[in-house]
């Protein structure tokens, strides 16, 4: 089993003692199969127990360990050390305030997620004894890709629009809204449109496409946002230019 020493440069910030964040360098002896998260765990266990970061599953499912690795948003558990040369720079996710070290404040994202109502709002509520809401495989496939979001927020760290205009609801929340709008069992589109078809919704998106490039689950948020734009535009024309069609 081969072993090499990697140099990690980690952005540290202690709100109790620091005025601003600063980098600290750690030399970590690592194994071939290690990911950045393993190196951070090594630092915490053997070098500096005060290092703070979020993680849970270590298998790209929980979405907790999102961070900037060499200035690109990545899941630390999915970033193999062998794919990097030289010093590896680890920073908290861009565009979010830093709570401490690599831990960011995610309140803004959680509040936005709530606003778009990312849950099934049935067209006609059914009593339990009436059975399940049924769906064909084709109807499932229509939105399945957008269900894969793990709320890791890498797309927010990649999106310059969110960085420049923090009011923007952002890629993940809008994609989840689209996921429910595309669901044949759902009837909540009108309620969600108030939030997602607004300026702070999809219209703040300039289609940079970075969200889809960094998404570890291949959700393709950029696609979801453009589809919402097109559907909202069609809505507007139907309502204003061709009102008779709506009757």
């Amino acid at each position: 089993m081969s072993e090499r020493v990697v140099e990690l440069e980690v952005l540290r910030y202690n709100p109790e003692t620091d005025r601003e964040p600063h980098f600290r360098r750690y030399s970590v002896p690592c194994r071939e199969e290690w990911v950045v998260l393993d190196a951070l765990n090594h630092v915490k266990e053997n070098i500096d127990p005060t290092l703070s970061y979020r993680w849970s599953c270590h298998m790209a499912v929980c979405g907790s360990c999102g961070m900037m690795i060499n200035r690109e948003p990545k899941l630390a558990c999915k970033s193999f050390l062998r794919d990097y040369q030289g010093v590896i720079r680890v920073e908290p996710l861009a565009h979010f305030p830093i709570e401490r070290d690599l831990v960011t404040v995610i309140d803004d994202f959680v509040a936005k997620l709530k606003r778009v109502k990312p849950y099934l709002i049935p067209k006609q509520p059914k009593a339990l004894e009436d059975g399940e809401y049924r769906q064909t495989p084709a109807q499932l496939k229509r939105y399945k890709q957008f269900t894969l979001c793990i709320n890791c927020m890498l797309c927010y760290a990649a999106c310059p629009e969110y960085g420049l205009i923090p009011k923007f609801i952002g890629p993940a929340a809008l994609s989840l809204a689209h996921r429910y709008n595309q669901d044949s069992r759902d009837g909540g589109r009108e309620e969600r449109q108030q939030e997602i078809a607004a300026t702070e919704g999809v219209w703040e998106c300039a289609f940079v496409g970075a969200c889809s490039e960094v998404c570890p689950e291949h959700v393709d948020p950029a696609a979801a946002l453009q589809q919402v734009k097109i559907k909202s535009t069609v809505d507007w024309y139907l309502e204003h230019a061709m009102p008779w069609l709506n009757k």
Binding site: P15, D18, R71, A94, E99
Partner: protein, 129 residues
């Protein structure tokens, strides 16, 4: 314990994080060249309305080296914008037939084909052949 989150200011630094960002900015900037070329066409129409001499002077101005450089730049930007845009069309216009989605290359390919046909039609109308 009280919280003291640190907010990092977003500077132009984001443009250097990955080549995708300057590429995106280039696509956005292409509108200036395409818009400029369109204004030039409007100016040409105005000159045409002023009579044959004004129109001839306009055509002469178009042949100046500076004008040729600017038009070549506008063409390059228009092509870059169109190609990157058509490549993104499968994201905006997914087509589900039965259970499966039509392949991305079919959707962008259809856009490229229509673009080519329309360009050919314009060139034919302009008497280029």
């Amino acid at each position: 314990m009280s919280r003291k989150p640190y907010v990092r200011a977003l500077r132009w630094e984001w443009l250097t994080r990955h080549p995708r960002y300057p590429r995106y900015l280039l696509r956005e900037l292409s509108c200036l060249f395409i818009g400029g070329w369109t204004l030039m066409m409007v100016w040409g129409l105005a000159r045409l309305a002023q009579g044959p001499e004004a129109w001839a002077a306009f055509l002469d101005a178009l042949r100046s080296p500076a004008s040729i450089v600017l038009q070549a730049l506008a063409l390059a930007f228009a092509v870059y914008h169109s190609v990157t845009w058509f490549n993104l069309t499968p994201k905006a216009l997914p087509l589900q037939l039965g259970e499966d989605f039509v392949a991305d290359r079919v959707i962008s390919g259809a856009h490229f084909a229509v673009w080519g046909l329309l360009s050919l039609a314009v060139l034919l109308l302009a008497g280029a052949f």
